[in-house]
């Protein structure tokens, strides 16, 4: 039971990191990343390959995972950041699908549908409790560090400008903000965070395969972020920690509905997840922890006003 609780908390932590990624791009930047699962996968594979085949230490793997996901984010959105946001939604969704196809077929690179197993966890998996507790600690620490960093970022001039871009690109551009650069920076950072979540996921679980990165993961994270509040770092984290028990609850419901097969149970779970997301979007689109409007700082003296 304790093992189970630790496992659930660690998974929730990994989802919380992913939720931070989505909060940054969607909630703060207004960029809908429907390919979140794809960037999650890139991080997981990059770190797995770097540590298993490159023999690099685990922390280097984590950094490489962030770099790889970030570069992928920029390459994929390079042509679309300047266009309407719907194009980006289409392209990111397509990207995650294509990535899964490539991972399934380029066996020489990714191990195909078998994936990559035996990924290092940094310490021996034989000692189950120390291993589980260490990973719970590491993942929780990462959640806290990103939470603090994104809170700082949200309150910074950069964060304010990004929200201005989200609310009205034309006004932001007229105010002299380089709109595309802000969106590119936000997206690259958000995919880097998703990549980090993927790397943690791979090292914690020791195994990655294309089927783990279904688009359903993206829907889960949209649910978490919508639930918690998509404009606030703490909202996204809260959403993720509520999401995982909720997913366990749907499993419980599906198992206790009489007279349906296992497949129907799985379908029922996804139906519940989708319906809850739709209902939340309708009834509480700002989430449990809504974004707070910041007061614009008042320029203290006329000279400062002219300088800015």
């Amino acid at each position: 039971m304790l093992n189970y609780a630790i496992f659930v908390l660690t998974t929730a932590g990994i989802y919380a990191v992913l939720a931070q990624s989505l909060m940054l791009s969607w909630g703060m930047g207004g960029i809908v990343n429907l390919g979140l699962a794809g960037f999650f996968a890139i991080g997981a594979y990059a770190s797995a390959m770097a540590t298993k085949w490159g023999g690099l230490p685990l922390p280097v793997g984590l950094v490489l995972a962030m770099l790889a996901a970030s570069v992928a984010g920029l390459v994929v959105t390079f042509s679309t950041l300047r266009l309407r946001d719907d194009y980006l939604a289409i392209v990111t969704l397509g990207f995650a699908e294509v990535l899964r196809i490539v991972a399934n077929n380029e066996i020489w690179l990714t191990g195909g549908s078998d994936g990559i197993s035996g990924i290092t966890g940094g310490l021996s998996r034989a000692d189950r409790m120390p291993f589980a507790l260490t990973w719970l600690g590491v993942v929780t620490l990462v959640v806290i560090v990103w939470l603090a960093a994104l809170r700082r970022l949200a309150a910074s001039p950069w964060g304010r400008a990004l929200r201005a871009v989200r609310d009205d690109q034309v006004v932001a551009a007229v105010a002299g903000k380089p709109v595309t650069r802000f969106k590119a920076q936000a997206f690259a950072l958000s995919t880097a965070i998703a990549g980090l979540a993927g790397a943690l996921f791979g090292h914690f679980g020791s195994y990655v395969a294309p089927d783990m990165f279904q688009p359903l993961i993206t829907i889960y994270i949209f649910l978490a972020v919508t639930l918690g509040g998509n404009g606030r770092p703490s909202g996204a984290v809260l959403g993720a920690y509520v999401l995982v028990p909720f997913l366990e609850l749907t499993r419980f419901i599906a198992e206790h509905v009489g007279g349906i097969s296992a497949l129907q149970g799985a379908a029922l779970r996804e139906i519940i997840v989708a319906v809850v997301l739709l209902v939340l979007m309708r009834l509480r689109p700002r989430g449990l922890l809504p974004e707070r409007n910041q007061q614009a700082p008042r320029p203290s003296s006329p000279s400062e006003r002219s300088a800015s």
Binding site: S79, D86, Y87, G94, F222, E270, L278, P285
Partner: protein, 288 residues
């Protein structure tokens, strides 16, 4: 030379069927102004509706096709009114996210009801027709003709009827259309019925050619996007041309590289088109 010609012919067959959901996607994008990620799942619903009537009730294909249209149109309208329309004030992206959630919902409703098994239509076995180096199944010819007939009907509807004209007016400029007394809610309703219905017919025609499962339509999503982007998002004639190009490109990829890379080829085309000609290959004017 034979296999190459065969690949091109297969591509034209696939592309002709792809035109219908691609037109549906583009019509919804043009009038309701959000990308509907549920269009694939609606195609699956149409396919199951037609299949059920055909295999359980013994309806002929010609009678089952209108039912496929009606099932997809009904489900699509219901989804639009319950789940998507109320989100309009929050913007197109929220509507797009909701449509993605709907896509999962619909796919799993089908999975819950019918399982993951492949289902085939009740069709007479017919011998393929040989034309020199290439061959084609009589059912494929029939599907192409049916698809062309639907396209022609849509064209006639948009060009010749008042409703069609008001749809084009709203797509072109919703404010001006409202000034001219066009009721936007009515036009939106007709667009959803038409868009979802076209997807349903496309899904069933696809199922006639192969078989259906709950993912039949969602698997088609990337090709639909590619066709719509290639033709310029929101342009219905563009979607037709885009679908034919995508059909051929996909089949040529199957022929030259590997069947697995059918959809990635379409995705690569999306990236290329968006880099060089974001308003589509066939656009005459720049997109606002």
């Amino acid at each position: 030379m034979g296999p190459l010609l065969q690949a091109i012919l297969n591509g034209l067959v696939a592309g002709t069927i792809l035109t219908l959901p691609a037109m549906g996607f583009s019509a919804i994008f043009a009038v309701l102004r959000y990308p509907s990620f549920a269009i694939g799942a609606l195609a699956s619903f149409g396919a199951y509706g037609g299949w059920y009537a055909n295999s359980r009730w013994g309806w002929p294909i010609e009678a089952a096709l209108p039912l496929a249209f009606a099932v997809a149109a009904g489900v699509g309208t219901l989804c639009e009114w319950i789940a998507i329309r109320p989100l309009e004030p929050s913007g197109a992206l929220m509507m797009a996210v909701a449509s993605l959630a709907l896509s999962f919902l619909l796919e799993n409703v089908l999975r819950f009801g019918f399982g993951n098994d492949l289902r085939g239509f009740d069709l007479p076995m017919l011998r393929d027709v040989n034309w020199g180096p290439v061959r084609i199944g009589p059912q494929q010819i029939k599907n192409m003709l049916l698809s062309l007939a639907v396209m022609l009907a849509v064209w006639g509807f948009l060009r010749l009827t008042n409703t069609g004209r008001s749809m084009r007016a709203v797509a072109d400029n919703p404010d001006l259309a409202r000034l001219r007394g066009i009721d936007p809610a009515r036009v939106a309703l007709i667009t959803v019925v038409m868009g979802a219905g076209l997807a349903g017919v496309g899904g069933m025609l696809l199922g006639l050619d192969t078989s259906i499962d709950p993912m039949t339509g969602t698997r088609l999503m990337l090709s639909i996007f590619a066709a719509a982007v290639l033709g310029g998002l929101g342009s219905i004639p563009g979607a037709v041309a885009g679908a034919l190009v995508i059909g051929v490109v996909e089949e040529l990829t199957v022929f030259a590289i590997s069947p697995a890379y059918r959809t990635p080829a379409g995705f690569l085309l999306i990236l290329l088109v968006l880099s060089w000609r974001p308003s589509g290959l066939f656009a005459r004017r720049a997109e606002a």
